[in-house]
Symmetry: T
Subunit: 145 residues, 12 copies
Amino acid sequence: MKKQLLVIHGPNINLTGVREPGVYGSESLGQIDEEIRAYCEKEGFTCEIRQSNHEGQIIDWLHEAMGRADGIILNAGAYTHYSYAIHDAIAAVKIPCIEVHFSNIQARNDFRHLSVIAPVCVGSIAGFGKNSYLLAIDAFKKILV
Amino acid sequence: MKKQLLVIHGPNINLTGVREPGVYGSESLGQIDEEIRAYCEKEGFTCEIRQSNHEGQIIDWLHEAMGRADGIILNAGAYTHYSYAIHDAIAAVKIPCIEVHFSNIQARNDFRHLSVIAPVCVGSIAGFGKNSYLLAIDAFKKILV
Amino acid sequence: MKKQLLVIHGPNINLTGVREPGVYGSESLGQIDEEIRAYCEKEGFTCEIRQSNHEGQIIDWLHEAMGRADGIILNAGAYTHYSYAIHDAIAAVKIPCIEVHFSNIQARNDFRHLSVIAPVCVGSIAGFGKNSYLLAIDAFKKILV
Amino acid sequence: MKKQLLVIHGPNINLTGVREPGVYGSESLGQIDEEIRAYCEKEGFTCEIRQSNHEGQIIDWLHEAMGRADGIILNAGAYTHYSYAIHDAIAAVKIPCIEVHFSNIQARNDFRHLSVIAPVCVGSIAGFGKNSYLLAIDAFKKILV
Amino acid sequence: MKKQLLVIHGPNINLTGVREPGVYGSESLGQIDEEIRAYCEKEGFTCEIRQSNHEGQIIDWLHEAMGRADGIILNAGAYTHYSYAIHDAIAAVKIPCIEVHFSNIQARNDFRHLSVIAPVCVGSIAGFGKNSYLLAIDAFKKILV
Amino acid sequence: MKKQLLVIHGPNINLTGVREPGVYGSESLGQIDEEIRAYCEKEGFTCEIRQSNHEGQIIDWLHEAMGRADGIILNAGAYTHYSYAIHDAIAAVKIPCIEVHFSNIQARNDFRHLSVIAPVCVGSIAGFGKNSYLLAIDAFKKILV
Amino acid sequence: MKKQLLVIHGPNINLTGVREPGVYGSESLGQIDEEIRAYCEKEGFTCEIRQSNHEGQIIDWLHEAMGRADGIILNAGAYTHYSYAIHDAIAAVKIPCIEVHFSNIQARNDFRHLSVIAPVCVGSIAGFGKNSYLLAIDAFKKILV
Amino acid sequence: MKKQLLVIHGPNINLTGVREPGVYGSESLGQIDEEIRAYCEKEGFTCEIRQSNHEGQIIDWLHEAMGRADGIILNAGAYTHYSYAIHDAIAAVKIPCIEVHFSNIQARNDFRHLSVIAPVCVGSIAGFGKNSYLLAIDAFKKILV
Amino acid sequence: MKKQLLVIHGPNINLTGVREPGVYGSESLGQIDEEIRAYCEKEGFTCEIRQSNHEGQIIDWLHEAMGRADGIILNAGAYTHYSYAIHDAIAAVKIPCIEVHFSNIQARNDFRHLSVIAPVCVGSIAGFGKNSYLLAIDAFKKILV
Amino acid sequence: MKKQLLVIHGPNINLTGVREPGVYGSESLGQIDEEIRAYCEKEGFTCEIRQSNHEGQIIDWLHEAMGRADGIILNAGAYTHYSYAIHDAIAAVKIPCIEVHFSNIQARNDFRHLSVIAPVCVGSIAGFGKNSYLLAIDAFKKILV
Amino acid sequence: MKKQLLVIHGPNINLTGVREPGVYGSESLGQIDEEIRAYCEKEGFTCEIRQSNHEGQIIDWLHEAMGRADGIILNAGAYTHYSYAIHDAIAAVKIPCIEVHFSNIQARNDFRHLSVIAPVCVGSIAGFGKNSYLLAIDAFKKILV
Amino acid sequence: MKKQLLVIHGPNINLTGVREPGVYGSESLGQIDEEIRAYCEKEGFTCEIRQSNHEGQIIDWLHEAMGRADGIILNAGAYTHYSYAIHDAIAAVKIPCIEVHFSNIQARNDFRHLSVIAPVCVGSIAGFGKNSYLLAIDAFKKILV
């Protein structure tokens, strides 16, 4: 049976394509989601993709993933830098979670240097634009066997 | 007439029993809520119990408590450590609020050492698992007379 | 055609008139909103006013403003001090945003000294109570021509 | 056979009733000790109560408690904030210890925000005046069974 | 009788129009002072405008304002960030003082994030170029009645 | 009736004359105490002088001074820099206390720059060797009338 | 013509298989290098793999890569955390460089939280053991076209 | 021949009597200067008293004192906390200088805790209102013999 | 004539054998003291061994050692990390003092990283359990000749 | 036509020869100025030399240099370490400015480690006594062609 | 069979006898190595002694020691304070390592207070000049049995 | 006889002309070395110039300079900011060393603000591109006589 991946886009990622194209690329999130879905299918995963600007909603989805998802790909956006509540949620649900970012966050503004969720993620991939998501799928292919 | 208590469980506390049983115990939140309700009744309080992973929802509930609750028992979970918005809400509604935690937060990771809501709470009780809630009820019995 | 302003009140501002009248004044938010509306009309703006205690909701509204509002007046309340997610939203939507506060935040508690949203706002006005909003309208009158 | 509790009052607590009555109440320590003794008896504990302004004396008493006390209630006063020697003593004797404070220490001056003894205590109760001690007895009733 | 405003420009503001036009605009200080004077007259204030690069001179002027000015508009330039002596002067003279800045100081270099004079000003207005001064006049119109 | 002063020398001050004569002078503490007594008599005070290396002992003496001493002259030695327990004792007994030091502590090693007891003392005199004590007597003469 | 990748293993990575197998896996570096070579071949890259414990040697190799390598995969080991000299070398050679780590460095000891080389890398991949290298090859496949 | 003392009052001290009487007393600086002069005469000193709000003026006066004054009494006001230039001037002129303050500066706002001039003064006297000056004269009587 | 060594065990060291045997070994302090005495005799020293949990008592003993001991071996326990009073005592008595610790303090909890007494000790030996004391005797054999 | 240099000596530099000869040398400032003038002439520059202890005066001179001086040599003395106002002045006038110091400021007291003006200077020369000025002239010879 | 010790001298230790004789003694490293060898022989160890100024060389030697040395005596010189790469090498090879220093590093300049290798060493000995090495041999005699 | 200078270029300086020409100029290091040699000859020095990316190599060269070089000109590149080992080497060899930098390091990224070698250099020259080296030769001309 196919492994199930849950992809969660955090705050402001719905504006991808509009927001700083030099950093985030010019494709819309809809287009990127299509690529993620196609890549999952090609690599033998089913997937579910969600986006929210609400910290609490992201936590709810992480909880609901228990018993349903085999892996989580999370771009927590700016919540990466201060949401200890998301940190606790990832720790609680015990599903392997990969942290992804469009940009290389350690190379940008100071407040983006600290990831409070990294300590509870199995790994992190940053700086490859939309490919960060595809590389996380590659990673789960190597991990979830 | 009986005094009314509002018990608010913050983020990830709905996973109690699932999440790190060594820290949070193995009873589900439903079971714990039953004990809280029974204890309130025995001690002569009515109570209302809520849980949310949403910072904004917790603030809304604190506001709605004005004119209805005589005391608030709040386990703000990880929001304890950075939600100045919840801090402001407690200060605004002027209902006595007791901060509770399952674990002794000063004995865990660094980011759990600071409580930003403590300055606006009448007291805090931490480290007694589910009993932290029952002790808060004991405390209100001594305070609300 | 008239310029459109979006006024967003952040967390706990719905309690204005109830919460620390010495700091925030004794008028209710409803009354203040009336004054804001009247002043907008007088100065030749249309306006829309919203309040939420939810960080995610505020981000959603900032996003929805794209293509509709010509200027944003934002009192982010306590989110001012830690919401990098709101920071990112303001930066993404590229609508001129003025930060306002009832009180002179640098003159209060330490945690209110830092505004994480200031770097993406065109200006800030603080310390004039409800007049901070009216002065922001004055400012837009000088800017949006 | 009854469980034995050791109550230790740290520095300056002998002045209770004299020192800042707004913070510590107006009863003398003698009166409070009477209430603690009565409450212990009612709840089925024997107890021994001591006070010292000497850090070394407090450590000596903690050591002597080995093999005699089943639980310790410690209000370490200002030593709470810098006595790593008391920290080591609590860790060494391995008797469950509850930290209590009259006032909600995180809500007062900065130097009172850090408790260096919390990491070796089973829990902490702060902010309920003399009732903090009684609540600690309630807590031991729930723990020591 | 008309209210009297004292406008003080601090260090380097005499170079406005020459210094970083992208930040400070290209009008000379003389031209800006004309606009300030005209706006005061239109709004019913008399005003006096001064500029100095000397910290001590600014303090002297603040002292001399006692009994003569009803409001002070102060752009303390770089002294904003370290002159506790100006802080003390504003506190001593007890005339309402509004802090203004051409640029949004929290959005520039780190050393400009802290205003040591903000705690003794009634409010602050930053980021609107020369209009910051005019908005301060608007503010005094709302305050000084 | 004569006012009564209590002079307390803290840790290591019994070694005066032996310890770093360049800093503390070459007279023994006994000789200095004679001068203090003579000066008190000449200025119309009775006095009592004590020395201890024990933090707890110093606190006990501060407590015992209640109802007996009209002023306290305290050289807390190294406890000056970390004894919040002595800080609390001075605050509790409410007798005016002057902090004295042989050397100008802000001019020596870093750890001597902070006085945790200064906030509860009426004043401080440092840097005049044994004369710091005599100047404190002069000060009490001006204060205790 | 095939793109050329340079893989550099930094200090102590020659001990892989020996050093903390729980963190770094139990395969020897020789075995891992075989996998890296095979994967490169399969994905259409030529590659060259080197290891050194010498900071200066790594810098020399980075310099020599100019005009020869199209991409660099660098696991700088502990140098990641303090070698500004390697930082400068990467910046100088202007060949896209991906930072890789066996473990999720943000989840380990404090001193491993900061990467001083991240700001000059195109991206980083951490936490997937030897797969971090393979994912970097996947990433270059997406980038170097 | 009589010893000559130079008394320098720093910024804002000319407002004594007007500024926060609770802290600085209600006498004018003129009255206080009279008392200082009388006390000097009585104790056998000649004296010269000056006040300036200008950091540079204070430095000039310190320089001019070389060869003329035997002791300096300096209340540097807020310059105490950041004027390394005054620090250097005191060090350069090599005349014994006593730092005085009306209030006990370590007991007030944080920015008043550090004296950058203390390391080059022979001693400091703080917290005795105008008497701080008189005590400094007493101190010079004991020192300058 | 034989050289005399003074060995001082600080707080909680009386519990050696009871407290964390993994860190401190399972021999009682009595047994260890026997070994220290025997080793001293064998190496040609006389010795005196004392233990106290009281900071003040340790200071008193350091003072009494003047003129009697030729070398001091001090395990100050947790006082190592904050007792500037013990620091001052060692500096005052001018007897060579070697700091010893059972465990390698820099390898344990953060608060044990700083030794405030190290700057006034001739050397320090840590991490060898009871042998730390014997090595200190070896050291004095090399120093005290 | 000859290039014009402006040399500004900041606070306390008028005391050179008097102040710490070990650090600043024993020649008077007048003698040094003679050497500077002679060296300028020899190297083909005209020069103007000024000294002030007043921060504001230095700023005024920097402003007046616009259109007159081709290069500025500034020894800002202690203002180097905190005068952001001088920083702003140098930035505003856009004349190349070289920072000079007699001593190697990074090798002296802590407060001298930071130069707040360095970021707006073209270069800095420190540690060569009066030769620092001559080396700055050498430097301008290489720069101003 | 005899135990084998590896002694590694880090950077600048080859200059012993030349460099600051007051701190490091006046014997050459060759002479000291002779004493170390003689002492090893007398105490029943074989030994190998090496010196390098190269961080990478020290790491290589630590690696080569696996399977050959029973104990390592490392004076890492200044690398002690920042070489996390040496830290990792010691941790990886799992041979007991004793950190030695000629001087008492905590008593010297600030940057020498932190040892980044201490956490992976079994113990440390500092302050006894060349005897620090001999004491480490003494220590291994007690450990390696 | 001619004085001998040793010029050492540290890491990445071999890339001069390639690396950020805006900062470092467009001449190759070979060309710059020619100018340094010519200038030395003209000014009456012999010189030797070396470059290495290896921290240990630089230390070795510093050691070898003893007895051969009269002055050292060192551009330690990024090692400037953390190599305490180079710091120690300079201190040990006791040859006057001048620190040079192409750019004004205090004006660039934060990590370049601290020079750990400055405290052991006689002076430093930064910000003049290749001329920094020539100015150092000028400086030695003034020093080495």
